[in-house]
Subunit: 111 residues, 2 copies
């Protein structure tokens, strides 16, 4: 349980940093979405730029049990090694954005 | 303030109904994401199907002040009229997924 709180804190720190780095231009909002009850976490870009729609999830992380699932990563940051550097063991990170058969070839958790 | 609570309840009801309607096939999860602190609400499909990635936000609604913003709608349901039918006045709904100049041509709120 202690781990889970630490992992939640890591995810929030990461989102805050990335949201800051992606500071919005005029008309584009950088939304940090945190569903702390169901443990879904996202960074979304959203708005209008010269009458063109900007909409996209940039990063999506879930906490399932005691594991962090990387569901989507449209940033330039390698999220899994970043989480490891923050102290999360590889066996508590699932590369959800890779198919299960590929996850077996890594040191990260499979599910 | 009373309105806002009612609107939150409408959004949650809508997401629950649509999440139910989109009940996931094997390997694909229908995630309802609710950030009730910052008032961001989403329905996201996520998973793997025959080693192909399924990832996408199906619906994204925000509550800003006393207005519901429709940010993204990938469902077959017309969300704005559905909200109106639930009792939300048109002037409290913003079609965020349309550019501001187009919103002026509707009875819905512009911002």
């Amino acid at each position: 349980m202690e781990n889970i709180e630490t992992y939640r804190a890591c995810i929030k720190k990461l989102l805050a940093e990335l949201g800051q780095a992606n500071l919005s231009d005029d008309g584009v909002e950088s939304q940090i979405i945190m569903d702390t009850e169901h443990d879904h976490y996202q960074l979304v870009h959203i708005g209008w730029q010269n009458n063109r729609r900007v909409y996209g999830c940039v990063l999506h992380l879930d906490l399932k049990g005691d594991k962090i699932w990387i569901q989507h990563n449209g940033t330039e940051v390698e999220i899994a090694p970043t989480l490891v550097a923050m102290g999360v063991p590889k066996q508590h990170i699932v590369l959800g954005l890779h198919p299960p058969y590929k996850r077996q070839m890594t040191d990260y958790a499979i599910v």
